[in-house]
Subunit: 225 residues, 3 copies
């Protein structure tokens, strides 16, 4: 059973799983599919059209959003419909804090944390376990690698490597906090060598992460920090 506040407006073609809590003044338009155990609101907007300057009034009636399970989506955050690709898609265990902008065609992977006032441009991909600190901005098509962190207030114009820290005006460094938090300590040396010296890792678990990043990085056509 879902717990939906009576002031929430849930449009047609919104499919809700089970055990979601939707707080007051939240608006959800479809077609949107939402899994289980999510906490949404108050005053959240999901399912408005993508903000595409080339065609601001495009027909978004069939453009779909998919949101997984156990996500927290906080007040004044919006998640918008795709314009170019088939989905705007969010995975599981994501934490979108106050006043976050999730744009058209974004992909937000599992365990991502996006803090208040962060704004992503269209078609960005934020990969598993990445963390965007307060008020940072991400340019179009960018790929933010797994378990990386973007510093407070940073304007990200290139892709960010997995396990790295992007701080404006500093060399890329290793995100030791995430390595510990997500249990990658035994791979520290491999990760360090990958982030700092571009040396390919050997352990499958790290290789798989880097390969997934490299594939999306190549497709994005963006440069790399």
């Amino acid at each position: 059973m879902n717990n939906i506040h009576p002031t929430a407006i849930i449009g047609p073609k919104v499919l809700l799983g089970d055990n979601n809590t939707i707080y007051p003044n939240t608006v959800i338009y479809g077609p949107t599919r939402i899994g289980d155990d999510n906490v949404i609101g108050p005053n959240v907007v999901i399912g408005t059209p993508g903000q595409d300057t080339r065609n601001p009034r495009y027909d978004s009636s069939e453009c779909q959003i998919v949101i997984g399970n156990r996500n927290i989506i906080r007040e004044f955050t919006a998640i918008q419909k795709p314009c170019y690709e088939s989905l705007t898609i969010l995975g599981n265990d994501i934490f979108l804090m106050q006043s976050v902008h999730i744009p058209h065609d974004a992909q937000i992977s599992d365990k991502v944390v996006i803090t208040p006032m962060c704004a992503l441009a269209g078609i960005t991909k934020i990969l598993e376990g990445a963390n965007l600190a307060l008020g940072c901005t991400i340019t179009q098509h960018s790929v933010i690698g797994h378990y990386s962190i973007v510093a407070m207030g940073a304007a990200v114009m290139k892709n960010v490597k997995p396990f790295s820290r992007f701080i404006p005006n500093r060399k890329i460094s290793v995100n030791e906090y995430a390595i510990k938090k997500f249990g990658f300590q035994e791979y520290f040396d491999e990760i360090y060598n990958y982030v700092m010296n571009d040396i390919s890792p050997k352990s499958n678990i790290i290789v798989d992460i880097i390969n997934e990043f490299n594939e999306k990085h190549a497709k994005s056509g963006m440069p790399l920090y």
Copy 2:
């Protein structure tokens, strides 16, 4: 006929033209005059008092907002009443994306695009076709020239020339994207020389633009990038 969601709150002295769509949880206080074919909301606030630190509780009951036609004003954006001049005024074909702050006494001209998390200080003027990228901030009294662009995350402390690009820590450059988008290609050399070398243009259409900017620039008392 206007299409107004029943949860929208439209105060007295709000004059709506025709064919406007007002989405849920939007609040509009008057005196506010809105033209035709605008899309507003959900969860937009228009007509609250200007945020003036010198007199936060000034009487704004007669302070007026005017909004033109064919504008799109998206979720969590606010447009506030004037404190000093006679109007907060928006033209036509403007696109205000999520979580934009339009302050007291602002002038937003036709075809301006303001992207998520941008905040303008009071009495700013954003001139025709200008584009403010994600999360940028504009200081008081500033004039952002026609067809210019301000980069993502920039803090703008001076006026920005028409047709220019302002990117922090870089020399001003020419906004080629806007020249193409708005059909000024045949004037490219004149525009280039104006932006880069301060050489006055000769073609009337460009001269008129520069003159309008120069007049507002002079009145603003602000320096120029």
Copy 3:
């Protein structure tokens, strides 16, 4: 008597003083204690859980917010419950503008001004009369000193001295505007020597301010600009 719009949602355990105005679509959850003469909303959220990544779903049912008197809290601003300390606390005569993020365990002192799109991280302390300009971000545990100002778009990673101006990439300077506004002109030389040369002031009123700051600064474990 309080003036509460019928669309505002005021939870149980919300204690309101007198003469507060609460505008539409505002949500206030308790336990929250609010004094007199406050203006809140429209579309404000107070009393949602702190955004703590270590325990995003912590039980906040007994976590309390206290808000004083004569504060103005504007549209799309949120004030969140504590996670670590006993209170999120706001004093008197504070002006929180559009889209401000007040986090768990924050302390906002009297006469503070926080402008649009500012985001504070958890456990920050903004001391009396400080002013945060558009879109700035404040890191965890920081202390922003009395009557200081943080520049537009700044990312604050250390504590900020009382009476100082923090502008990125510049030396700390004296906040002359606040000295005049708050009536400290007769202490200008002492303040100047404290801010610029770390010379301890002699007048009691300034000594008390510096002592209060120094105590919180020492507790914070943060470096100083």
